[in-house]
Symmetry: none
Subunit: 365 residues, 2 copies
């Protein structure tokens, strides 16, 4: 019944999506103005970030983070789902999903393989973990099509409830699993759900750009190596760090109509027009898993930024604002964790500082 | 593709290895000089350690531990893998792998049996755990060769990414599993990856000395009983505690071209030339698992010491320096944990003190 309901309403959603695309240019111009008017200044680290405007990330976080009051009900602060977690990787989807909750989302789901589910569940009773994905080794060839259909139907039962999907943390690279995730991405687009794509999700998308091309609610969050592969695929050249902003703009235009958050010493964010940066001090510790915190954080902030937009107070590109906010919050939390734990700082430690870091910037009541 | 790439580059690596072996004698002389010049003094506990120079371990730790700064990227502080963990033992590989992270490595992997993986994963989402090893009970005789080949191929896909392997914590003594690990050791030598061999890895190596003989990047870390078996096998006699240093030197020469860290009241370290000792006060608590902390710690410090060498600042034997540093840090952390927890000190408690203990010696920024 849920699926049928989804199908009936999706056309209305698609109309809304089309309208949104057509008004996007105007929205982007207003958003760039907002970034500047919120205090954006040219950054110092000039060559690398030439033409990038340093975002006033704290003002943006304050702008989009909702105040809490007793009239709110469960779900309003965000319902996030992470698609990831396989036999090999279980930490990454946990980090993304628990980060979303620690920042303030109300519900956080994980859709992972049957092998991964009990372990992810064991990390925390706070998460809702769906053991529904399959890897090739557990599916006979003749069962692949019905199994894929069953997986997609199962995810679709939930799809409309989610405010944002994070695709990729700990997904692995199994062919059958990635084929199913391609279907999930197509379905998410159909239902007009924002997508944050990281990790092995980027591997999938880099090889099949049409999955995200032209979808303004998609954000890719590549690290150094993932960015390199994207540039090679889309621009057919090597990364040029002397022209980071121009290159990032070309990359986004090459893919078409999405947002890219390029992680690095400064995070650079672009939706095809201007490039903004987040350079606030973070942590020199480079333990694995910090990218997963970022993907979960960006998902929550995009949700909140879209709620702002829905309220009509500031029509701006919520995807860019979500990226700025997620990047800045991770840096602040990582800095606080490093202050305390120094060289032994792990991802779990940083997650523990997400709440206080956000409270410092934007008190909850 | 990764495997092929590995095969293509391994010859270059072997050339580098050969050059390294040929310059080892000079390097060792300089390293002995460093140990002395850093303040090494003859120890007091004279009979047992006659001819052993007490290493100035704190200066060595300061020398090899990298400062952290924002220009560093994920992986530079070390990528460690532990080969161990079976149906019976899951704590040991976890202790070794998490210790590596807590000291400051960026990524820590565990390769274990399928039974052990979910449990090791559940201890911490920070570890990347590969459920790929098999014990005899789960493999039919006719499947053993293809299964072993598959396991080796899977490990080889990752091999070149690692800075050091720890072989043995919680490995067990299953014949088929140990045969696979023998292949992994041979492959690691082929790719010129440093090896720290402890626990059941020592059982394997003691019975098949050619696995490590002549490999200067191997270190064995035997406790009292493991050392006894090594001496019986290599020197064909009982341990002589009156001539510890001479005996250790003979043992190392008997095996050929490796380093041995003999754990005891004082830890004795020898790579075939002089013997150095680490005797700083640790803890009188002898709970199981401390050897696993040591193996993970030594792996990280060897990685860092080799990076120092790569930078050309101090050409010295990084294996010995890694052993000295690992031994000294464990002692300091164990002492701090015992101060707090006394008789109830457990391995987990000691691990929690690794970060602060290292920070005391060598501040991270």
């Amino acid at each position: 019944m849920l699926i049928r309901h989804g199908m009936n309403t999706c056309f209305a959603r698609l109309d809304i999506a089309n309208n949104r695309v057509s008004t996007l240019a105007a929205v982007l111009r207003r958003q760039q103005f907002l970034i500047r008017s919120l205090g954006g200044t040219p950054s110092q680290d000039c060559r690398e970030k030439m033409n990038a405007v340093e975002a006033d990330s704290l003002s943006i976080i304050r702008k989009i983070t909702p105040k809490l009051d007793l009239s709110r009900h469960k779900g309003q602060a965000g319902k996030i789902a992470v698609i990831g977690g396989c036999r090999e990787y279980t930490g990454a989807p946990y980090f993304a999903a628990i980060s979303a909750l620690k920042i303030g989302a109300d519900l956080s789901h994980v859709f992972c393989t049957k092998d991964a589910a009990p372990i992810i569940k064991s990390y925390s009773p706070e998460l809702i973990v769906h053991p529904i994905l399959e890897e090739s080794y557990s599916v006979r060839d003749e069962d692949k099509i019905p199994t894929a259909n069953k997986i997609l139907a199962e995810v679709n039962k939930w799809m409309e409830r989610f405010d944002c999907l994070v695709i990729g943390p700990g997904l692995g690279r199994d062919r059958f699993l990635l084929d199913c995730v391609s279907q999930i991405i197509r379905s998410a687009r159909y239902f007009n759900i924002p997508l944050v794509i990281d990790g092995d999700g980027l591997f999938l998308v880099t090889n099949t750009l049409e999955l995200v091309s032209g979808y303004p609610l998609a954000v890719l969050t590549p690290n150094v190596n993932e960015y390199k592969r994207l540039v090679q695929k889309v621009l057919n050249c090597e990364v040029n760090n002397q022209e980071s902003s121009a290159e990032l703009r070309s990359l986004v235009k090459g893919i078409g109509g999405i947002t890219v958050l390029r992680k690095g010493k400064s995070d650079l964010i672009c939706d095809g027009t201007e490039v903004c940066s987040v350079s606030t001090f973070g942590s020199p510790r480079r333990c694995g898993g910090q990218g997963d915190i970022l993907s979960g954080s960006v998902a929550v902030f995009i949700t909140w930024a879209r709620q702002c937009e829905d309220m009509g107070t500031n029509p701006m590109n919520p995807t860019v604002l979500g990226c700025v906010a997620g990047s800045a919050l991770l840096r602040k939390a990582a800095s606080a964790a490093f202050e305390n734990k120094r060289r032994s700082t792990l991802t779990t430690d940083i997650i523990e500082y997400l709440g206080n870091s956000l409270e410092d910037i934007s008190p909850s009541v």
